[in-house]
Subunit: 160 residues, 6 copies
């Protein structure tokens, strides 16, 4: 039967021992959505056109958060990421920002949490910078889209 | 017209000067949802009944993240929170965990970001601990429910 | 009956709400001991006479650790310490270093954990710098000696 | 003659250059003791039976501290630990909690400090969570029990 | 005679006790210069016109560094800054970027180190982002321009 | 034409992907200068003779900062440095302290930023410890002196 790997037989939390896993090239892609009022979206879009500052700040926050994932998520391993990218798509129809984070590493363990953390903190930063005009914004659909590498190989959302 | 407070007139990112704001008692409540497969939910619930370790680890991660919010969100002020609480409700119908974070501080600035960060990181930690059996879990509906204190006073979701 | 303040009625870990406590001047004094081989003690002492580097490095480590106590101890509050002092006494008879850490703050909560953390990390640093010649060193007697301020007032070891 | 490796010929503190050491599998085991009043022990034990929260929080704190050892101990190298485990044994006879931390890494340098730091911070966290009922608790016998790997090979306490 | 406040009578490093100082409004202004090849300056300027990303990233880095000054500078106190601003002036004549950082706090201790740290880390970030085309860039003239508040009152460079 | 590697074609900040670079032995040497009043220099020198505490504290601060470079400089990769050395030369003629930092790593990316960060933070720490007697001190000439390893090979200041 399937088991939660972060709990041992007695139900005790533990950091999974990855010492015997093979080192391989790992990649993970995660996404998130920040849904806002159309008026908030317009302000963000205007800023984005002129300077892009909200999105640049959110991108930096996401990249920095990926690097400190091992400090945020208690049972995550510290990793030396070879790359982190955080990109944004402005969707005027849905009045939302779509966030996509990609992390890569050569390691014994995957980078799903790093990608999810990058997307989440980028979303929180957008919320922070726009909250004075729209406290009701919602961060939603934080999800892994795909991952590659490691023993479990390739995984893609929707193709389970 | 409304303006994004974290951008000055030239669209440049800045940390809002709160030096002239009055110190007042602040509180913010944020929520998040982790939606999973029914089988994953059962494993989590069993663990929860026996030891509660997944939820305890997630609670600690959320509390710790609230304290380092100023380090994660670039334009947030560092604060000395007087309390952080992170609670969970297991919803078997919806096969999800409902997270609720409450932060309090006596300060010149609010704690919305701290509460949202606590809820988000608690959710990410649940994902981390269950991901070996269910990579498709989704973190959703990260939202501010209410905030009190400060010049803008009380705000409650749904009553704008 | 006495209760563990960091657990609520349901036994759930929480960060104690200090929002209603009075702000007062707080102080805590903690001590620790690093016991070593006489030969290790002599090497440390020689270094101490010439340059003091082992002890200076340990002092800095202890001071820095006190400042990040809220990040190390999950349910501790972040504090702005007004002073941290870490001092050492070389005891040739017992072949050990006696460490004494004093922390002060004007706050709603005490600094016992900050002082204990400063003493512990100073001790670990001495161990680190001498371990190549003596892996068997023992850090012992980490204890609060006294604390002042707050509702519970003055407390002194041995006078309970 | 034996020398303190973290001091150069002039007595100046330095971070030992491990660039020429061979990468090997390293492990270290460290222990610590938290001695308390019998009444405190009973409260802890009751909590442990019902929920285990004090020990789970202490375990998480120890694991997190091991990961940030390079930030706490000035001349330690940053490492990517492959595993950290922190376990507890409740000893009613001695009215104490025995802590055992095991760290592993594939690296050019050992993990003694990581294991000792994990044990120490787990002990400090137990102190924190129980201090309201027993300020006189003592953390003691923080010691390396054994280490493996590296040029100096296997070392075990008591068999020098 | 003047004395170094961070050393006590015995020449031992210490964190100055600010517990008896009055809380007052503090401000400090620091500057730094990044001197580069004219070709590097043109690339930076072009980026700055189109998107401003190098300078936005450097601004965020400076603001974040100011907030963690107490973690970087061993004997600095942790502070809750009420504002941090980092601004840039592009000087084509001198082929350099002029950085100006302003920090404010209501506190018992000043923010000179926070402003100097913000300017330094912003400068280092500009170096990082341009170093692939110009390793010879020099960061220079990191200096306090003025400070206000506290017992020593107003200080301005050049008017001693 | 030369391009800023940390900006992609659209001028967006990114963390350069180093996943395809070869692992090689890297080294970087950076320097910095702290210029002060002759009287300040004498106080520092006296302290240096007696105990060396200002310089030891600055050395530790520089080493610690090198280790957290990836946290300070947004687009830097986290690295596991194999060594960091920070040395000082007191120059009575110029009434300044000359700082020299050397970092080494076996990695896919260089350590220029780590060496520059170590030198900068060591300089800031000297400023901090002497500022009570000389607010006008200037940190200057922060520069890379040489780097080795990686695809671009050896680079030395002045020999471009």
């Amino acid at each position: 039967m399937a088991e939660l790997t972060h709990l041992d037989a007695a139900g005790t939390a533990r950091m999974v021992d990855v010492g015997d896993k093979a080192v391989s090239q790992r990649e993970a892609v995660a996404t998130a959505l920040v849904v806002m009022q159309p008026e908030t979206f317009r302000l963000l879009q205007q800023g984005a056109h002129a300077k892009g500052d909200v999105l640049t700040v959110a991108r930096i926050a996401g990249i920095q958060a990926a690097k400190k994932c091992g400090d945020l998520i208690p049972l995550c391993h510290s990793l030396m990421l070879s790359s982190v990218a955080v990109d944004f798509e402005l969707d005027p129809e849905a009045s939302c920002v779509r966030i996509r984070a990609v992390c890569r590493v050569m390691s014994q363990t995957g980078v799903e949490m790093e990608a999810l953390t990058a997307a989440s903190v980028a979303a929180l930063t957008i919320y922070d910078m726009c909250k004075a005009v729209d406290r009701g914004m919602v961060i939603t659909d934080i999800a892994l889209q795909q991952k590659q590498g490691g023993k479990s190989g390739h995984w893609q959302r929707g193709s389970e």
